[in-house]
């Protein structure tokens, strides 16, 4: 497989295969890759413009039963430092943020089985009603699956109720690496790749726009990274519901994953 051939394919807008993706990841020189990526970026978004959003990322609870080994945030119920905020408390928090110019709230928390589904719906409704200046960009896929578990509703029904309450976008966290081999090691209780993709698919069908993330730099291989990109690409072909892809590198400082 010739690197130059792969680079030409990308330039000609041809889709590259998994094997070709791995080859690029492993062998391409940094600036050849950078140049190519920059070309595609300007092809898709011709303006030399980089967007950002003024947002805030509060967490309504740190109680979680999923125990991901890369996470330094979660606590178990009853453990020192655990907390859960009420809807009122969070709305006050959003109002303060809005007063400071925040336009989006990315709200996430642990998967806390003691919180009833009504809490989540109310959070969305109250935000739409009481703090209309901010967009509710709430809940990772794990929390949505958690809502399905506490309410007995299908994921699709959960999503529809959130939509009806006024939510329009969902953050793309929790994907970690869409490789079940790696997921079993780093987040065995968090569900499979298919679970993440399924929540996203259902959300896109209803009309939600979402992002997609990838956490790399832990136990995954280069092939796992490409498998992840391939899965996200396939779903995008199907639904066109992703707005942005967000790769983030694992921060090993306080976590147990080494």
């Amino acid at each position: 497989m010739q690197l130059a051939t792969i680079i030409d394919k990308v330039r000609n807008n041809e889709r590259i295969s998994r094997e070709e993706g791995v080859e690029l990841l492993q062998k391409a020189a940094l600036l050849d890759l950078g140049e190519l990526a920059s070309e595609i970026r300007f092809r898709k978004n011709p303006e030399p413009r980089v967007t950002f959003v003024v947002d805030t990322n509060p967490n309504y609870t740190n109680i979680c039963n999923i125990d991901c080994i890369f996470c330094a945030f979660y606590r178990h119920e009853g453990e020192e430092g655990e907390y859960t905020y009420s809807v009122d408390q969070m709305i006050q928090n959003f109002k303060r943020a809005a007063a400071n110019g925040v336009t989006t709230v990315l709200l996430q928390g642990g998967v806390n089985p003691k919180i009833p589904f009504e809490y989540y719906v109310e959070m969305v409704e109250r935000t739409a009603k009481d703090v209309p200046e901010v967009m509710p960009h709430f809940w990772s896929t794990s929390e949505i699956i958690g809502m399905s578990n506490v309410s007995g509703l299908e994921v699709r029904e959960v999503l529809q109720k959130l939509w009806n309450a006024g939510q329009r976008t969902i953050p793309g966290g929790g994907a970690e690496i869409l490789s079940d081999k790696v997921k079993r090691k780093i987040s065995s209780l968090k569900g499979t790749s298919a679970d993440w993709l399924n929540v996203m698919r259902e959300a896109h069908k209803i009309g939600f726009k979402t992002t997609a993330t990838m956490m790399y730099g832990h136990l995954e291989t280069d092939e796992d990274i490409i498998e992840h990109l391939e899965s996200v690409r396939q779903l995008q072909d199907e639904t066109h519901g992703f707005t942005a892809f967000i790769p983030w590198s694992f921060k090993r400082r306080y976590a147990t994953c080494r």
Binding site: L31, G34, P48
Partner: protein, 618 residues
């Protein structure tokens, strides 16, 4: 190399770079003002690869800051204190020796300038380290300190340097240059020596055979134009002396200093641009350093694709940068440096103080003789999984002995020595009649060299043996030999000097010191033996898989056949560096035979026989 420029203003600059033409101040500004970071990086990386291949150098070094007491009060420094201050310290020579460990290859000494130390104390530090740790080369005292010694102890700069050199000083750090601008100096560094004083010290060092580093402190109040003028001044000095080893752009660390720059820290973009632009402006500098202590490991790692080929070292105590807020950890272990360099796709090369390669830490390394005459093999060399390490022939032999190279164009003597572990390929560098790049510059004719002292190149064993054979077997005389080191040398004590490679080629054109006679060793051999002379042969490690050997031989053949007939084009860049025109390059390269035929094999056999005879006689 293809660059897809987003910024068309860069295209004329790129045309200059590709042909080795020197960039102007205006070109430098065009580069700085361009938003096309990637193209800038690719251009700098192109030049980096011409100079250093895939090598990135580091050294197992340690810093000694013997005292923080200083008579100066520079605004940018929060290291120095006055005598009597609670934080003041002064290390004795014994304390300094106590911090050193045997594996250290370079000791870097700089510190404050206390009011009351006697001259002998500074000399003693250098001498004691040199004596107790003979494998550690001493790099000591910035130009500012040398100037301070000169004034305080009422000795000429030359005398200060000579005494330090006699005590064991090998090289000097490049600090104290700051920015060569009187405007900035008056604003920030009015107690320091300024451009004139700095260059005076460094040029004096170069003339005494002490190579030095150079620096630029940027990211405070200087303009982009002032940065470029700084680089141009260094470039001019390098044209004059050739004594600078490396250039180190130092990003200013605001911290608790008296300087309030517009921004707190330089941006990564500015750091990368400055590295890349210094590589492009400083066309006569061999190395550009990404000083990770100040850049952070992350930016330093990226910089290795933006023109930098030098990672400084393991570094021991680094109080000056740390006190001013550098966020890198104090000690970056060797493993970590090796990892950073590998991640950047480069070869981690452990070096000595003169940038000789001591060890490499990656697989698939192919050695390259860094001379114009090897360009036909390497210009079109399609690397695939291999990485190219430019290295002097003798050093290539040493690395191969340790098993650290897959293949290379070996000096003939190194091939003979390692015949049992190397497999000979069918390519070589052989002369037709003369070669012009293995030259003896002499004050005497051949027969009058009996008993005389000849300075011999440190770079290869083959040319030295050839000289030996010619002296003893052709002319029946014996001379004494002494090794020179690559780069700066004082030739005055030698009756003759043997140079090889581009240095020989350069001096063949311009002459060397006052030597009146110049002999071409290949010509001497040819006139005597009527045979070509084989200087180097391609060989691979025996133990490589057959598939890898086959792949390498295909790559070499393809590279050579693409080069044949285009010598002026492929040699132009390197030729310009040593002052040869396209025609001269073409003529020079056409003088070689790159394929190992019957006559070349016969010449190898004959030379081996003669070498064995003189070895027995010794």
């Amino acid at each position: 190399l293809n660059v897809n420029f987003r910024d068309p203003h860069l295209i004329p600059v790129w045309q200059k770079i590709q042909t080795g033409e020197r960039l102007s101040l205006q070109d430098g500004l065009t580069l700085y003002n361009s938003p096309d970071l990637i193209s800038l990086g690719k251009m700098a990386h192109f030049v980096q690869q011409q100079k250093s291949g895939d090598a990135v150098y580091f050294v197992l070094n340690q810093k000694i800051e013997h005292t923080n007491i200083c008579v100066l009060s520079c605004k940018f420094c929060d290291f120095a204190v006055k005598k009597g201050d609670a934080n003041a310290y002064e290390m004795t020579t014994e304390e300094i020796l106590g911090t050193l460990t045997p594996e250290i290859a370079e000791v870097h000494i700089t510190g404050g300038m206390p009011p009351d130390w006697p001259w002998e104390r500074y000399v003693d530090i250098v001498r004691s380290i040199h004596e107790k740790f003979p494998h550690a080369d001493v790099k000591a005292y910035t130009a500012v300190e040398i100037d301070f010694f000169h004034k305080k102890f009422r000795m000429s700069i030359e005398e200060v340097l000579r005494q330090l050199k006699d005590a064991g000083l090998k090289t000097m750090p490049g600090g104290g240059a700051e920015v060569f601008s009187e405007r900035v100096r008056k604003l920030l560094f009015n107690q320091k020596i300024g451009a004139k004083g700095w260059f005076e010290v460094h040029k004096a060092a170069h003339k005494l055979g002490i190579p030095t580093n150079s620096t630029m402190l940027y990211g405070h109040v200087e303009t982009l134009e002032e940065r470029l003028i700084h680089m141009i001044k260094l470039r001019e000095a390098q044209d004059e002396t050739g004594g600078f080893l490396t250039f180190i752009p130092l990003a200013f660390q605001p911290g608790d200093t008296g300087i309030k720059p517009r921004n707190q820290f330089t941006s990564a973009i500015d750091d990368l641009k400055t590295i890349a632009i210094s590589r492009l402006m400083l066309d006569n500098f061999p190395h550009i350093k990404a000083y990770w202590v100040m850049l952070t490991e992350e930016v330093a790692s990226v910089a290795l694709n933006f023109g930098a080929d030098d990672m400084d070292g393991t570094v021991g105590q680094e109080r000056i940068a740390h006190d001013a807020g550098a966020i890198s950890p104090m000690k970056l272990a060797k493993d970590q440096i090796v990892k950073i360099i590998r991640d950047a796709g480069k070869i981690p090369v452990e070096r000595d103080v003169y940038y000789n390669a001591l060890n490499v830490y990656t697989d698939h390394v192919v050695g390259k003789i860094p001379f114009l005459n090897s360009v036909p093999f390497y210009h079109h060399f399609e690397k695939r999984q291999f990485k190219i390490l430019p290295i002097a022939p003798r050093r290539m032999g040493l690395l191969s002995e340790k098993g650290e190279l897959d293949a290379g164009l070996f000096s003939l003597m190194d091939y003979f020595r390692q015949e049992n572990r190397l497999e000979l390929f069918n390519w070589c560098i052989a002369t037709r009649d003369q070669v012009k790049s293995v030259m003896l510059f002499s004050n005497h004719g051949w027969r009058d060299l009996d008993g005389k002292l000849i300075g011999i190149t440190d770079e290869t064993a083959t040319s030295v043996k050839l000289l030996h054979v010619l002296l003893e077997k052709k002319y029946g005389v014996k001379a004494r030999f002494e090794r020179l080191h690559a780069g700066v040398n004082d030739y005055s004590k030698y009756d003759a000097v043997l140079l090889i490679g581009d240095e020989a080629l350069h001096h063949n054109k311009l002459g060397l010191a006052d030597y009146e006679l110049v002999f071409d060793l290949a010509r001497e051999w040819y006139d005597w033996q009527k045979l070509p002379f084989v200087f180097a042969v391609w060989a691979v490690k025996n133990s490589l898989p057959e598939g890898t050997k086959k792949e390498l031989s295909e790559i070499i053949e393809l590279a050579l056949s693409q080069a044949e007939g285009h010598y002026a084009d492929i040699g132009e860049f390197r030729g310009k560096e040593i002052g040869l025109s396209r025609n001269e390059v073409e003529e020079y390269l056409a003088g070689f035979n790159y394929r190992l035929g019957e006559r070349e094999r016969e010449a190898m056999k004959e030379f081996r026989k003669l070498v064995q005879e003189i070895t027995i006689n010794v």
